[in-house]
Amino acid sequence: MKTALTLFAAMAFAAAALAVEIGKPAPDFTGTDIYGKTVKLSDYKGKIVVIESYNSDCPFCKNHYRTGAMQELQHDLAAQNVVWLIVDSVNTKNFSYRTPEQARKELADQKITATAWIDDHAGTVGHLYDMKTTPHMFVIAPDGTLVYDGAIDNRPQPFGDPRTAKNYVRQAVAELLAGKPVEVSQTKPYGCAVHYAY
């Protein structure tokens, strides 16, 4: 009885602690990807996870994809066994919403090599992580703690070559892999507002 209660209290506590904070466990979520597959963050425990808040119509995101810089980063990190989750929180009424079919086509056309593209049109994951903009990036360490939350790089521009900028995600992952502490763990995300459902 008592253990059950303690357990219950601990669970309640864990629920209360649900908020994105650097150095704290990244809140778990379950989503459905554009192939209808269930994606659960905690299934990737033991691996580095990158989360990208995505809307390819947003000029800031578009610039990262048009120049191929984002695909390059996805490719490089995938080679190092890093999981990349795209979270698309655009609501269904918005012009930038992609049906799963459109999304699958876009994934192929853009040569995106993400582990999964989560269709989050209800904004559940977006709100859970307090995603402000597209692109808003998160890096989660293998032990499940959040180590980076913020902009993708230090170049808040919708044009030009992103490769010239300091990429915070690339840097955080490199530092994690080298067993070093993540130097820049929080920055102000830039980009377009996430078009949440209201």
Partner: protein
């Protein structure tokens, strides 16, 4: 050739298309047609947005990008910084941005060198911006215009437009403000208070709305939601949350303070050092409500002491009929009945003893409050109900009172059970009256009454002598009806003659006491969860011990010692096993703050867990917000909820207004709710607030006792 033509026309077509794709038209304006060398003139970059589209301020906020101007100026001309007209806060609340809709003219000073030759000059600039509606488009365009240099300056036709927009840029130097951290950081966010200096000239202006638009920074972010603590020009105070990205907490902040009065909207540039704590003289006022908070708070803090004392007295008087004290009334009625035919002197004496009991208890309460305050902790009315130990003791005590009324055992003092009957009765009467006074006070604390909360709210912020004075006055109010009744016992003639019926009445009065026990057990459940069962078992064991004590020790003829031993063993065993081992009664369960809906029934109000941030978010989204601060031990709160909040008409109204409802659970007296109660001048729950749709308007404070009409009225006022 033909191919080239097609290719060319496609390219040209695309170029036209991309030019059309911009939803913003840009034009370069100058304040002068002809300017003299050495002069400074104004340039205006006029941006006209299509309906629904917006462009951004210098700090775009959570998303977006500031408009940029790259000048291509002939030698001898230099451009200064952009002066940005006051922007609007743009929704949605989760991603608040600062920007312009319809039109904006960005103002730039252009300085002409003294040695400029007199000839027309071509001024050009590349303007790039991000325009957003449902989606965002980056755009840029080249603009140009001509400026004549001559011996005589001549205003242009556009000068008036530039002047108009210049007047919309924030003023400088009119605001002597202060900023300080309200408390230490919670993770990487920290509340910041921005206030102004008291200037006599600015006194007594009450702004319709106040806000602060921060400048941009890479190191930290002053979040968009603003909580207005006071909109009084003489004592302006805003609360903003600061989120830190890297480095230390900022030592300085800059931005624009925005005040609105009627149709007039003014921005003032501010650049403030951030102090580590509130400036002297500002701490107390932070904890009292704004003097201008509308609504029905009977007592703003500036009220004179005598008025507070009257409130305290009336409040104490009203406490008598509040649900918490009602069970004790039963005891008092009984006391009067049994004494009504006694000598007047004795009745008077008992009335005074009762009052004495109440006053001593209030004195003790005041002493505790003063002690707790002196130790630097928070003291509030009813705070002892946040302690599970107190609740267990009180529950046991009230149950014993009930058993005593049932006649299970007698209360005798000092074991002198076999004195003369008369003496016993008198002792019983005196100690009983005193005990009733104490019990009335203890049971009264979870209730606040109208007037009372105003007086206590005032008292808690004051010094020792005022606290003592107000508490004693409340005690006087609580006991006044009995002193008055007992002073002239002829007034008690309406009561029936004492007789056998009294024994029955006494037993009947045990039941309200039992009801109180049930209520207290329910309160304890919030500390122990399902384990509260063990409290129930403990109560049963105590009851059994009480019965053995009454039946075999007090009224028994033989083996009284053995019976007493059994009763003692039961008590000790019950305590050790049920309370200590199973219930672990001195430690309560951790508080559960599960976010999400607290809906009580499927069609009930969709209550959310209260937090200052959640309220700020909802308000920033332009939602009407209802907040109910309540506690399991607050009977007034439960009654309010049943009669005036959780009713179908209010549910429908909230739905119609698309309002957000929050519950702040004060059962365990958490610090953040305590602070909020203090801010609205309440010593305890209940506190029901309605925040108007306009995020800048102050909250409407509802009275302690609600009626559906009051709630409706407040919701209607807030919806405007």
């Amino acid at each position: 050739m033909r191919r080239i033509v097609i290719l060319f026309s496609i390219c040209f077509g695309l170029a036209v298309l991309s030019a059309r794709a911009a939803h913003t038209q840009v034009q370069l304006l100058l304040s002068a047609e002809t300017a003299k060398p050495g002069e400074t003139i104004w340039a205006g970059v006029d941006m006209k947005m299509e309906p629904g589209w917006h462009t951004y301020w210098k700090n775009p906020g959570d998303a977006g990008m500031a408009t940029k101007i790259e000048w291509q100026l002939p030698p001898g001309l230099s451009a200064g910084e952009i002066q940005w007209p006051l922007p609007e806060k743009l929704p949605p609340a989760e991603v608040t941005t600062y920007g312009y809709e319809d039109e904006v003219v960005l103002i730039v000073p252009l300085t002409l060198e003294t040695n400029l030759p007199a000839s027309p000059l071509n001024l050009a600039a590349k303007v790039s911006w991000l325009e957003c509606k449902e989606s965002c488009i980056p755009a840029s365009t080249d603009v140009q215009t001509t400026l004549n240099i001559g011996g005589e300056s001549k205003m242009s036709d556009e000068a008036a437009t530039i002047e108009l927009w210049k007047s919309k840029t924030p003023q400088t130097g009119q605001f002597t403000g202060r900023a300080w951290w309200e408390k230490s950081a919670d993770g990487d966010t920290r509340p910041l208070i921005i206030g102004n200096e008291l200037t006599e000239a600015a006194r007594n202006t009450k702004y319709d709305s106040v806000d602060f638009f921060p400048g941009a920074s890479d190191q930290f972010e002053i979040q968009a939601a603003t909580e207005i603590i006071s909109a009084d020009s003489a004592d302006l105070r805003l609360r903003k949350l600061v989120k830190k990205f890297s480095g230390d907490w900022p030592k300085e902040i800059s931005g624009v303070l925005v005040v609105q009065n009627g149709g007039l909207r003014l921005g003032v540039e501010v650049n403030l050092p951030v102090a580590d704590k509130a400036p002297a003289g500002k701490t107390i006022s932070t904890q009292t409500p704004s003097e201008n908070s509308p609504g029905v708070t009977p007592a703003p803090p500036s009220q004179p002491l005598w008025r507070m004392l009257i409130f305290a007295f009336i409040g104490g008087l009203i406490l008598n009929i509040m649900p918490c004290v009602l069970p004790v009334i039963a005891l008092k009625i009984l006391g009067f009945v049994s004494e009504a035919r006694s000598k007047p002197r004795r009745v008077r004496g008992l009335g005074l003893v009762y009052a004495f009991g109440v006053l001593v208890s209030f004195l003790a309460l005041a002493a505790i409050v003063i002690g707790v305050k002196a130790a630097g902790h928070r003291a509030g009315w009813g705070m002892q109900f946040g302690s599970p130990v107190f609740i267990v003791c009180l529950t046991t005590l009230v149950m014993l009172v009930a058993l005593n009324l049932f006649g299970v055992f007698e209360v005798t003092l000092g074991g002198r059970a076999l004195d003369t009957a008369g003496e016993l009765a008198s002792r019983h009467g005196v100690s009983g009256a005193f005990f009733n006074g104490v019990l009335a006070t203890v049971l009264a604390t979870p209730c606040t009454a109208p007037f009372l909360s105003a007086a206590l709210g005032f008292a808690f912020a004051q010094g020792t002598s005022v606290i003592l004075l107000i508490f004693l006055t409340v005690g006087l109010g609580l006991s006044a009806p009995y002193i008055i009744l007992s002073w002239n016992p002829s007034r008690l003639k309406f009561l029936p003659k004492p007789g056998v019926w009294m024994e029955k009445f006494k037993i009947a009065m045990g039941f309200p006491m039992l009801a109180t026990v049930v209520w207290l057990v329910n309160v304890a459940a919030s500390s122990y969860g399902k384990n509260v069962l063990w409290l129930g078992i403990f109560l049963v064991v105590v009851a059994l011990a009480a019965w053995i004590f009454g039946e075999f020790v007090q009224r028994g003829r033989t083996r009284q010692k053995a019976a007493a031993l059994v009763a003692l063993i039961l008590l000790v065993g019950g305590y050790a096993f049920a309370l200590e081992k199973e219930l672990d009664w001195r430690t309560a369960l951790p508080e559960k703050n599960t976010p999400g809906s607290l809906k009580e029934s499927t069609d009930g109000i969709d209550w959310q867990t209260w937090s200052p941030e959640a309220v700020a978010r909802a308000r920033a989204a332009g939602k009407l917000v209802l907040v109910d601060f309540t506690a399991d031990w607050c009977l007034t709160c439960q009654v309010n909820k049943k009669t005036s909040l959780e009713i179908s008409s209010v549910r429908a109204k909230l739905k119609e207004l698309n309002a957000v409802a929050f519950i702040g659970d004060y059962t365990r007296t958490p610090a953040d709710i305590f602070d909020e109660l203090q801010r609205f001048g309440r010593p305890s729950v209940p506190l029901v607030l309605v925040f108007p749709k306009d995020p800048a308007a102050p909250a409407i404070i509802l009275p302690e006792i609600l009626t559906p009409g009051l709630v409706f009225d407040a919701l209607n006022r807030a919806a405007k």
